[in-house]
Structures are given as C-alpha cells and as structure tokens.
C-alpha cells in the first residue's frame, strides 16, 4: 500500500521534531524565530524571570518590537518600555524600538523568517508569515517564556484545509476582499485548529503584499496558520532579504486535506465586515451608503506601501469629506519611506489624511484615534470586535484600502470601483 503524502505543515513540523509526524499527533518542536511586542512582552519577561535563569536559549532567534503603544501614550506604558529595553539589553536581544513598525511587517521585511521555518509570536497575527511558506502562529506570554528558556514548545499537528482561489481578481477587488469573503464563508470558528493552505490562479497572480493579507487574516476564522507554496514571486521577494539558506516546502500530490473551499475570485465584489464580528461579511452593494466618522488605513493587514499607493490613486486630486477623519498609519518605517518616495504620502496628506507613526496605530485601542461613543469607523484592520479600538460604544467596519479611500471621499461606505 502506498503511504499517504504530507502537507506543507506536516513536513515543516516533521523537520523540527525528533520523529516524522502526521496531523493529529502531539509533539515538541524547536523554533527558528520568537517574536514579542510591547503589549505581551512584559508578561513574557515576568514569566521568564520566574525560571531564575540568567540567559535565554538563543538571543539571535528572539526579537522584541514596540508597536502596540509606540511612542508611549502614558507613563505606565513608558515604564513597561523601560523594563523591556533593559531586558533586551541585558540579554543581547535585538529590539526594534518605537517607529520601526508593526512586528509582523518588521519580521518579513528584514528577512527574519524564511520558507520552511517555524516561527512563533506573542500575537495572534503571527500567522502572517505563512505567506512566506513558513509555519507561524501566535502563542501566549507564558508559553513564550518557555520558548525563551528551551527554544521549544509542544503542539498538535493541525489538519489542513485547502482554500482554492479560482479566476483572476476584477478591478477594484483585492486580497482583503478575498480574505473577508473566506471568513464570511467559514465563520469565526470554521477553521479552528486547522492550517489553511492557499492555492489557485488568483493567488499566483498576487504580489507578496497581497499574499500577506490572506495569511494575516486566517486567525479570524480560527486557523492556526495560513500557508502557501514559495513560487517565483516569493523567491524574488526574498532575494536580498534572506541571509541564510532555506528550503521551500510543498504538499505532496497525495497529501490528505480535511476539506476544500473554492472561491470564485473573478465574480467577487468588494466585501465589508460589519461590526462586531469579522465573519459578519456583506458584499459592498448591501452596505453602501452607511455614514462613517473615521477611516483608518494601516495595520499588519493593510498598511504596506502598496496599500497606501492604492489609496492614493483613488484620493489623488480629491479631498476627504467634511466631518470625516482619515488616519493613515504605515506598517513600518521602511514602508513609510517607500510610500514617501512614491509620492503616495504627499497625495494622502493633500487629500486631508492625518499621518501617524508606523506601528499598530489605533487598531488595538491604545492610542492615536480611539473613536467616540456611537461613532462609526471604516478600517483596513483585521478585527472589528466591540471595544477593539478602545471604545465599546463605537462601531467598526472592515474593508480594503481602496474601499476605505473611496469612502473617505464621500463620508459613506462607498464602492471603490466608482473612482477607478
């Protein structure tokens, strides 16, 4: 009898533990990269110090990034930043301080995660790196303290759900719309405990900046990871970034998948997730005209230079509507520089945008754009839970940068295809 083949995730895990594993097995794996940030890092340090150990397992494989509340909005956060700066200095760990950007963008653009790697982060959107053919997922602070100590963690090998993106994307429809459509179809727990593997024509046509959007959002339907093969686009993107050897991993032809979901991208229209859950997704035709108070373009989902370029192409020569605030937060220092050089930043500011420093911005509700009671926000972020942006009496809609830019012009949720 022929052995059944392995999925990407089964292969990556098998190469990081003592024995070959298959979906459903429990095992202990070694990790290649451990990422933490200013919202969850203090808890990691507190737990790590309880071990009473002087040094971490490998300081080269750990990074800290200040992104959730950076620069600090108050003395409480400032003191936590001080504590993390001291810890990283003592242990010789690389710290990306305020203004460097969202941890996930920093990790990918600095080439810190490569195909075939296992990466963990104390942030649920660590799954973003799956677009680089790595197995990457979020963990808690205590578990990360265990990684700091041992370089390892236990896990259950997930089964894989294949998501097939058929057809090419029409004009005005983007990876964000595909991700929202998928989450709407699967529901917020539809892929619980599963890895997702994306394939299909629309995917192969997407630049890396769009592929990161798909992997970033898989946690919103409960998935552990959102992986893709490394193709020529991936390898080209990694050129100049990767500073060590790597081996791309692909699923065997006879690998076993738990299920399949096909999305016809060619007929897709822009999608909007309506408050207060990410799986509450509607085609734009059903929510167009809803008035909004604030538009936010940024985050680890959609704060890349390419996203700002799309927004700028719609806002060029136009002004945002009276009574609407447009907040723009580049995902990183490098992405900000790219968007400055391309002229996108100037266009956005001339249209009336407020530019805030690279990082998470108002997405996690700490600073830089907390909405007021009853206000409606249209955002390119990945979550619209009640209270998410710091006020449980606000209402958050999620959409693509194009939809956000078009809506900033009219003050109402607007189909971006009207401006293209």
């Amino acid at each position: 009898m022929k052995m059944r083949g392995k999925t990407i995730v089964e292969k990556i895990i098998s190469s990081h533990c003592r024995e070959g594993v298959k979906a459903g097995d429990f095992t202990v794996v070694s990790v290649d990269l451990a990422v933490t940030h200013d919202a969850t890092g203090p808890g990691v340090i507190k737990a790590f110090e309880e071990f009473g150990k002087k040094s971490v397992w490998n300081r080269e494989k750990i990074i800290f990034v200040f992104d959730h509340a950076a620069p600090s909005p108050n003395e409480k956060v400032s003191n936590l930043h001080v504590m993390m700066r001291k810890f990283t200095k003592e242990h010789g760990i690389k710290l990306f301080d305020v203004g460097c950007g969202v941890c996930h963008q920093v990790v990918i653009e600095k080439g810190l995660v490569l195909p075939g790697d296992i990466a963990v982060g104390t942030d649920s959107h660590t799954c973003t790196y799956g677009a680089l053919n790595a197995f990457a997922f979020g963990i808690g602070s205590t578990e990360m303290a265990g990684v700091f100590l041992t370089g390892k963690l236990w896990l259950k090998v997930p089964e894989t759900l294949k998501v097939i993106l058929n057809g090419g994307l029409p004009k005005g429809v983007y990876a964000k719309d595909v991700a929202l459509k998928m989450i709407g179809e699967l529901g917020s727990e539809g892929a619980d405990y599963l890895a997702i593997e994306f394939i299909g024509e629309a995917l192969s046509q997407m630049p890396m900046s769009d592929r990161f959007v798909l992997s970033n959002m898989v946690i919103e339907c409960g998935a552990k990871a959102g992986l893709m093969e490394a193709d020529s686009e991936t390898l080209c993107w990694l050129k100049g970034r990767a500073r060590r050897e790597f081996s791309p991993v692909r699923s065997d032809d006879n690998a076993s998948f738990v299920d399949e979901l096909s999305i016809d991208c060619s007929t897709l229209q822009p999608q909007v997730a309506v408050y207060h859950s990410v799986d509450n997704v509607y085609p734009i035709s059903e929510v167009e005209g809803e008035s909004i108070d604030q538009v936010f373009i940024g985050t680890c989902t959609n704060g890349r230079a390419e996203d700002l370029r799309v927004a700028a192409s719609i806002l060029a020569g136009r002004k945002i509507s009276d009574g609407v605030r447009l907040i723009v937060c580049p995902a990183s220092h490098d992405e900000l520089l790219k968007a400055m050089k391309s002229g996108a930043i100037e266009v956005l500011i001339e249209a009336g945008a407020v530019l805030i420093p690279p990082g998470c911005g108002p997405c996690p509700g700490t600073h830089l754009g907390v909405p007021g009671d009853g206000e409606k926000v249209l955002s390119t972020a990945n979550r619209n839970f009640k209270g998410r942006m710091g006020n449980n009496k606000a209402f958050i809609f999620l959409a693509s940068p194009a939809t956000c830019a078009a809506s900033a012009i009219t003050g109402k949720i607007t189909d971006p295809r009207r401006f293209l």
């Binding site: 649920s124 979020g138 963990i139 205590t142 303290a145 727990e189 619980d192 700490t366 839970f385 710091g390």
Partner: protein
C-alpha cells in the same frame, strides 16, 4: 485524592472573544488584580464583582477567539475562577489557559444552567453538576496538557523538569 474545586456557574454565550474577556485598553499592565477587576466588562459590567473564588465560567462554542493576549486567561485566573467550561475553545486561549494552570475543559455546557453548583476534581478532571446531581463528561486532555496542569502551569512544569518531557 486531588484537590476538589466547587463553585457556581456563570453562563456565557458563543464566540466570547479575548477583547471581551479583557479589553485591549486595560492590557498594558503587570497588575493582574487590575485585569481581574475588568474581566468580561464589555459583556456584563457587573460580572467581575459578582464572581467569587471557586466559581466557573461556562460558555458556548469558540470561547477565547481573537487575540493571543494571555491577559485574557490571566484575568480569569486572577478573578479566582476554578475552570472554564465550553463546547469548544479557540486554540490560543486554550493553550494559554493550560499553560497558566487554569483548567479549560470541553464538555456539553447545555447540562449547566446559570447559578448551578459545580464540582471539579482537579486530579481526575471529573466534573459534576451538584444542583442537577449529574456527572458531566469531559473531553480528555492529552498527556502533556494534563502534566502541565498538574504542575500548576508551564512555569512550575519547566522549573521542575527543565525541558519538555514526553
């Protein structure tokens, strides 16, 4: 005989996400009692005050979805909750709970009503609804999770063993 935990049930619905369990605006602190004061505030502003040490959170499906913030499990633990029972858990919350030594058990939570008196044997993970005089079958945990729970969480586990032992 292991430790026996007894308390009342606080029922919650489906898809209780980590933003609801502890809002992001409260998470920038290492004062865990402060987190407990704001437990589930956006779901029910009075719940944190009404919970007594030993009580149980009893939820529907997909409890703890969303962010990886461990402060969610920490807030529950420091509020004195014995265990969280749910029809299903989101992955990261589930791990965080086990790693903090907070039992997170999958069972049919329709067998529990608000205010029911529950009893959990922490050693055998056997659960009873005392108010209804019925046992509640619990989905067994993998050996490694049981071992971490028995040691009181991942920190005491790794302090004792120095590494993961299978």
């Amino acid at each position: 005989m292991g430790e026996i935990l007894r308390g009342r049930a606080f029922k919650l619905g489906d898809n209780i996400n980590t933003d609801y369990i502890i809002a992001g605006k409260y998470t920038k602190t290492l004062d865990y009692a402060f987190l407990a004061e704001h437990l589930l505030e956006d779901v029910d502003p009075t719940i944190a005050k009404r919970i007594k040490r030993g009580d149980f959170l009893v939820a529907g499906k997909n409890f703890g979805c969303g962010s990886s913030r461990e402060q969610a499990a920490i807030a529950i633990k420091y509020a004195g909750i014995s265990a969280v029972l749910a029809k299903s858990f989101a992955r990261i919350f589930f791990r965080n709970a086990i790693n903090l030594g907070l039992p997170a058990l999958v069972c049919d939570t329709d067998l529990v009503d608000e205010g029911d008196e529950l009893e959990l044997d922490i050693e055998t993970l056997s659960l009873k609804n005392l108010s209804k005089s019925i046992p509640i079958p619990v989905v067994p945990l993998n050996k490694i999770m049981v071992n971490i729970l028995r040691e009181g969480g991942l920190v005491p586990y790794l302090k004792k063993h120095g590494d993961y032992v299978f």
